[in-house]
């Protein structure tokens, strides 16, 4: 490609966002569809290297750096935005179109950022653009949820900036490469701040609730964009900045396991998927923490697959929400009768996330598991195996079962609009293509050199045993009526601390301060009142004080007399 024609990778998607502002009707749709394709073609023509480097206030900035890792995520984000744009074509809501594409552009900008300052700019842009996809639901719940989302995301950005400045202050340059946690003094503070900033966006335990809180409150189409970008940018950032950091193995193991318990008892099916997203990110974080080339390849391949199969699952649930207006498992069921296409597409997504052989999750998940066992992480391997069984249980079975089968809710709605079906069909086809022909698809994009063969007898047999017997557990528990029913409820999670405890705490303090103030005020007022009361004789109807009994003229005469008397006295003295 002619180098004069080349633009920074995030520009095409940004042009799409601008087109959505100014254009209406079919022209807008065509341009929005073309921009992700244009962007992806542009990436195809880019050679690895640093572009448009310049100096800013004495610091060397590299706004665009192209290598195999950033290219892989670049292609992924263009693919994801293409699918999400198709899925949202029926909308007339300009806010969502503009926010969706500029959000995608920010994600692309972030993965091609060669220095930490550029990364920070796109990091904050991710937060500011994506929050409109939540607010676009236009409900009170969505508004306050979006507010919480924005505060946490911006906090992550501020920590990234603070960490960057700390690294600069300790004599490091701005280049975004391997950072690691092994530093001393100020550099160590900086490295930890950046680690935590990435961790917030990656939904680490205890800071994960922005995800489970806000994604289910977003619009049916907005969630598809949301599920594709923010957390995957964080996974990319960890793969670049902290590969092989052992702490990540343990954090990832926790992330893979704890959300599945919440997912089993959650009623809102998109919230179930949000929990299962954290579970899948857990696998990626473990892979990055192990840090061998097989593990890192597994992590980024899993990120790639997750965007597509989680997108597919979110799209099927978005279709259900779009058509029925309901999202709780307790209100749904029996939809397969009138939504057969959506049902089948959902089952493909479910098979992919559960890592059935020939579906996309299988190839990437087994890479991470193999890396864990070959590096001697036995406990982690067992935890991941449990998480793999658990994800089949809640995402693979629960989602399709409670939405489309289970008890018949009596709801009879048709399959969603054609554009939604096409978007889901593309994602489903990709899930099967990647799962069946990994070497020709996602493996050819992998950034690190390593050989791996997912399809051997051992892997296929053991995975099938694990999945079938997880399903058997579901059947057994259901037949014995031991499976927890879907209930309308809120389940407490770490967000309780800032949504209930902190507000209650602050309210208590405010109430007690207010109470003290009011008591003081009351005491002062009643003191004055008592003084007035004491000086007035109610029986005679007259004030008690001597001067108060007199007329003003009499008082004046008395005072003049006193004045003259004292004057006379002074005269003699």
């Amino acid at each position: 490609m002619n180098s004069l024609m080349m633009l920074p990778p995030f520009i095409p998607l940004l042009v799409g966002a601008l087109a959505a502002i100014f254009l209406r009707g079919p022209l807008r749709s065509v341009l929005m569809l073309l921009t992700p394709i244009w962007g992806a073609l542009q990436l195809w023509g880019m050679e690895p290297g640093v572009y448009w480097a310049f100096e800013f206030m004495g610091y060397a900035l590299e706004p665009v750096r192209v290598d195999k890792l950033s290219l892989m995520f670049g292609y992924l984000f263009h693919l994801a935005s293409f699918i999400a744009v198709i899925y949202s074509l029926h909308l007339k809501d300009t806010v969502q179109h503009v926010a969706g594409l500029s959000y995608a552009a920010s994600a692309v900008g972030a993965v091609f950022a060669g220095d930490l300052l550029t990364l920070f700019v796109f990091w904050e842009a991710l937060a500011l653009t994506s929050v409109f996809l939540i607010w676009a639901r236009r409900t009170d719940k969505a508004f306050s949820s979006g507010m919480r989302y924005l505060i946490i995301q911006v906090l992550s950005g501020v920590m990234l900036l603070a960490g960057t400045l700390a690294l600069l202050g300790s004599g490091k340059d701005l280049r975004f490469g391997y950072i690691g946690l092994e530093h001393e003094g100020l550099a160590s503070v900086g490295a930890w701040l950046i680690f935590l900033a990435f961790g917030i966006k990656c939904a680490f335990p205890f800071v994960h609730n922005w995800l489970t809180d806000s994604y289910p409150e977003a619009t049916p189409t907005g969630t598809i964009f949301l599920a594709s970008f923010t957390t995957k940018v964080a996974v990319y950032a960890f793969a670049r900045g902290y590969p092989g950091t052992e702490l990540l193995v343990w954090i990832g193991g926790t992330m893979a396991c704890f959300p599945i318990f919440f997912a089993v008892i959650e009623n809102d099916l998109r919230r179930v998927l949000a929990y299962s997203m954290i579970n899948q990110i857990g696998f990626m974080v473990v892979g990055i923490g192990i840090g061998t080339s097989l593990a890192l390849n597994g992590a980024v391949a899993h990120a790639f697959n997750d965007v597509i199969f989680k997108g597919l699952l979110m799209m099927t649930m978005g279709s259900v929400l779009h058509m029925t207006g309901k999202m709780n498992g307790s209100d749904l069921g029996g939809l397969y009768k009138t939504m057969p296409k959506t049902t089948i597409l959902c089952i493909v997504g479910a098979a992919s996330i559960s890592a059935f052989p020939l579906f996309s999750g299988f190839v990437s998940k087994s890479m991470i598991m193999s890396a864990a066992i070959s590096e001697g992480y036995n406990v982690i391997w067992l935890l991941l195996l449990f998480a793999a069984a658990g994800v089949f249980h809640h995402a693979g079975i629960k989602i399709p079962y409670f939405a489309f089968f289970a008890h018949d809710s009596g709801i009879r709605v048709s399959d969603p609009p054609k554009n939604m079906l096409i978007a889901m069909a593309i994602a489903a086809t990709l899930c099967i293509l990647i799962g069946s022909f990994p070497a020709q698809t996602v493996y050819s994009l992998l950034p690190w050199e390593s050989e791996y063969q997912p399809y051997d007898l051992t892997h296929v047999l053991t995975q099938l045993q694990l999945l079938f017997f997880s399903a058997l557990a579901f059947v057994w528990l259901n037949l014995r009526n031991m499976y927890p029913p879907e209930l309308r409820s809120t389940n407490l999670d770490a967000d309780w601390f800032y949504r209930k405890l902190a507000p209650t705490f602050i309210l208590r303090i405010a109430a007690s301060v207010n109470g003290v103030y009011q008591r003081q005020e009351q005491a002062a007022i009643s003191g004055v009142k008592a003084l007035i009361r004491k000086s007035y004789d109610t029986e005679t109807g007259q004030p008690k004080g001597y001067f108060s009994k007199l007329w003003p003229t009499e008082t004046m005469v008395a005072w003049v007399a006193i004045l003259l008397a004292s004057y006379l006295m002074l005269y003699y003295v």
């Binding site: 318990f261 249980h393 047999l461 694990l466 057994w476 031991m482 927890p484 309308r488 409820s489 809120t490």
Partner: protein, 84 residues
């Protein structure tokens, strides 16, 4: 809920469900049987336990569901808990 005019679907008939379940049980049994016939690679000593993956998957999921059920007792609140 049940509309008498509506034709009964495949999954509405209990006999279809029980047929499907029987096929499923047979598949499960075959997978365990395969464990004794096929020689699979063993990367870790626990994998030497016969049908290790089947047992682990079943027990893991039962524990998962039972623990989650207990969690409800502590964590479950009304739907409008945060709006009150």
């Amino acid at each position: 809920m049940d509309n008498p005019n509506e034709a009964k679907d495949f999954f509405d008939k209990p006999e279809n469900i029980s047929k499907m379940l029987k096929v499923f049980y047979v598949l499960c049994a075959l997978l365990v049987a395969a464990d004794f016939i096929v020689h699979r690679h063993v990367y870790h000593e626990w994998e030497n336990i016969p049908a290790f993956y089947a047992i682990y998957g079943f027990v893991g999921c039962v524990i998962l569901v039972l623990v989650a059920k207990e969690m409800r007792k502590i964590l479950m609140r009304g739907e409008d808990y945060y709006d009150e």
